[in-house]
Amino acid sequence: MHELSVAQSIVESAEREARNHHATLIEELELEIGALAGVDWDALDFALESAIKGSLLEDARIIRQIIAGEGRCGDCENLFPVENLLSACPVCGSYAVKIVKGKELRIKSITVK
């Protein structure tokens, strides 16, 4: 249930950013989360529900953008879509794959009032 820590960090960062801009309300929160970031969406939704209570995010619309995984083969340099951490390179079969996309855990933007 590390999603609770992630949810709390989202609320803290978004609130800090909003206060820096003298905002009193966050209307929209845009998240970018990689498909290989190790975060379960349902668990994050559940954790966010309680984490936003009483915060500037209480009534915010939360937009989630999922970033698909991409890996680069360490042996043949091939770049290919990766759906899980056990993907072998489709060209040479090597497991020495470096994940180059899909591990993001980012707050992209907030819309404030």
Binding site: M1, H2, S5, V6, S9, I10, E12, S13, A14, E17, A18, N20, H21, H22, A23, E27, E28, L31, G38, G74, N84, L85, L86, S94, Y95, A96, I99, L105, R106, I107, K108, S109, I110, T111, V112, K113
Partner: protein, 243 residues
Amino acid sequence: MCGTCGCGDRHHHESDHEHPYDHSHSHEENRMIVVEQDILQRNNLLAERNRGYFEAKNIFCLNLMSSPGSGKTTLLEETIRQMKNRKPVYVIEGDQQTSNDADRIAASGVPVFQVNTGTGCHLEASMINHALKHLNPEENALLFIENVGNLVCPALFDLGEAEKTVIVSTTEGDDKPLKYPYMFKEASVCIINKTDLAPYLNTRIDTLRENCLKVNPHLRIFEVSALKNTGMEEWCNWLATAR
């Protein structure tokens, strides 16, 4: 500061300054602020502070992570027994509750600090930062952080360690790396523990090793039985010389 253009708090865009691009966003109504910030940024920054502290004092820090019951504390006890005359050893113990593990480590004669996370399922960099102020480890020391027994959550949280170390025991089966790949992908060192029990189980150590390397071909693997003191010499020699 205005998140769209970076200008100061008092916005008079028409008169105060000119922008070389279209600057039509309104500050009275809804404003979109580009944040582009890592959600775990605070943890990651604190982890880097810890890392700087370790570097300055030449402390070699390992973050030990595994399922509950893989033998982390037994491995630590045996490691301490073999290492404490070679290097100063310190331990930070993470558990949801009790000081049982810290008591066991204290009995082996090295300084230990217990962190109880309550309901928390992993240690975070701030907890290590706090623990370090109490432990105050001396220079050139070995510092072990025994994370909360959990093969999932701790993988996500950098503590500032030099080596993320995953411990997997033969009693857990040989497909653990495939079932919990995040931990094995993040780790740089893997200890296969309880090798003495393998003959009595369906676990094949070579299959377990292969599965580890499938998830992470760069893993440095040690095979040990901490309880029977087999394979410990190679692990301890590496600890003594690794940087």
